[in-house]
């Protein structure tokens, strides 16, 4: 991971392209004050009041910015950030990084944050110093009922995949299913797949079916690496659906799984199979369409 100084330079560069000069001047004044003052008060006030100077518009970035972000911190995707949270992250990283005082200030921030401050804090975890000591904080954050906050941790964020123990990872993914969040935006999903999660996902699908409700098609991605008789029985049911998206999800799970029986089942759907081969159907596309049309 790059140094805080490098990250600050990067953030400052993208902010200068996304905010007005008046706001940037305010930010540099506050940054100076934060660094020179001995107490965290200036930091707390600036962190809150940043909302008066920066918008919640999505950042406008070019390809070079996106590549640079990933180079600095692997998995960092600022294209999903807004201007305000970028400014808040800039303030946060400007606060002196002496471990004890840093934690006392940052704990205070987490404990008193409003929704958008929480969003900024959790999304910035992979950029923070001492991040390995923030795992409990991140796990606790997943207990939120506010989708905006949950998304800041779970989606487009490399932190959970890097640090969450398996049980917590599984709880996060299942909660994303439960809240109907777009699973394709959870990073490193395939590399962190595990049989326990597949089992939990299956139970969840059965609960939904028992209640006469549909199952989010992306759920079958969790099952796909572990196809056995049980899962194939479920997928058989999915493949009898009348819903295009459910069929696409089922077909992707069969296509990516390593079961011969699964491949035989898929061969009954030659059009879907060729659409998957040509990249016309992907988990991302299925997830996107599901979000656009069903949630």
């Amino acid at each position: 991971m790059a140094s805080t100084q490098d990250i600050l330079e990067f953030l400052s560069g993208i902010l200068s392209k996304n905010a007005e000069e008046k706001s940037l001047n305010w930010l540099s004044q506050k940054t100076e004050k934060i660094q020179s003052s001995g107490s965290p008060t200036a930091f707390f006030l600036a962190f809150s009041q940043a909302s008066r100077f920066f918008s919640k518009e999505k950042l406008q970035l070019d390809e070079a910015d996106k590549n640079k972000a990933d180079e600095l911190v692997s998995g960092y995707e600022p294209e999903f950030w807004n201007v305000l949270q970028t400014a808040r992250t800039y303030l946060l990283l400007s606060y002196p990084q002496e471990k004890e005082t840093w934690f006392s200030a940052v704990n205070q921030l987490f404990e008193t944050a409003d929704m958008h401050e929480h969003q900024a804090l959790f999304a910035a975890l992979p950029l923070m110093p001492f991040q390995e000591d923030l795992v409990d904080r991140a796990i606790d954050g997943c207990r939120t009922n506010v989708a905006l906050i949950f998304d800041a941790i779970a989606l487009n964020n490399p932190y959970p995949a890097k640090y969450f123990p398996e049980a917590n990872w599984n709880q996060m993914v299942l909660k994303a299913v439960f809240m109907q969040r777009p699973l394709y935006r959870i990073q490193s999903q395939d590399s962190r797949s595990n049989p326990a999660l597949a089992e939990i996902a299956r139970d969840f699908a059965h609960e939904r079916w028992a209640a006469g409700r549909n199952v989010m098609p992306e759920l079958w991605r969790l099952v796909s690496p572990f196809l056995n008789e049980k899962y194939l029985e479920d997928l058989q049911k999915v493949m009898s659906s009348k819903d295009d998206l459910e069929l696409a999800g089922g077909a992707l799970a069969l296509f990516n799984g390593s079961s011969g029986t699964g491949k035989t089942l898929l061969s009954e759907f030659p059009t879907l199979a060729s659409q998957i081969e040509s990249g016309e159907i992907t988990w991302e596309k299925v997830g996107k369409e599901y979000q656009d049309t069903r949630v």
Partner: protein, 303 residues
Amino acid sequence: MSMYIDPHIHLVSRTTDDYEAMQKAGIVATIEPAFWLGQPRTEVGSFKDYFSTLVGWERFRASQFGIVHYCTMGLNSKEANNIALAEQVMELLPLYVGKEGVVAIGEIGYDDQTEAEDRFYREQLELAKEVDLPVLIHTPHRDKKKGTYRSMDVAEEHGMNPGWIIVDHNNEETVKEVLDRGYWAGFTIYPHTKMGSERMVEIVKQYGPERIIVNSAADWGISDPLAVPKTADLMRKMGIPEEHVQMVTYRNALTAFSLSGQMDENDWLQAPPIDQTKKMSGNSVLRGGQVPRVEGPADRVEN
């Protein structure tokens, strides 16, 4: 349909049925003043979590029903009397007053008009000046007239601009002085005590609509979260011009509290959905003929 603002309502105490009814009745925005909880708190952490709820969970909860939620931050006069605790709350307030959607310092003022109440009222007037926020004054239930006048005297002693202060819970006895001195005058419509809708109609008839603001102050006691739209309906029935009705149930509150720079009509007129799982996705991406699969918040919110 008419739009209303309820600029004083304690939503943490209200049910989702209330939220639904409020939204249906035309309430687009609410202001939740920090107050006490019906019994005194004994730990500063209780204040911290309460303040966090006002800017966090309650705001989110309101948004799920299509209502924009703002709040005021302050140490109420009742709990100012626990001096050791009050001092800690005063240290906590700077963490919250600068937050988004905090539209005033309040509700502050007097309850029993004790020395401690006076001290923390003054300290918070200074805080309001420091952070450029309007002030919402709670006037006492007992010895009301004197308490109301004293609140204004002290505010003026601290160099406050009356145009930045909303003096709340007025009645026939206090309204003239409050308006004459240039303050905004809030009126709380309670089913049994304080003001009833009929009395409110008479006051607007007598004093006109300038700087008068109607609210429900609905909380955990007997109170009506629809008091603002109901009073507006009664005013119309009693022949008060529509423009005046709009002023006292919408426009004046907006004008007064937007002095904070934290409240803007576009917040509800052009509300962007906070996220796609919001329940109120009335203008969703669904095309004609499709059946929306929108499910209630209970599907996604763990109780």
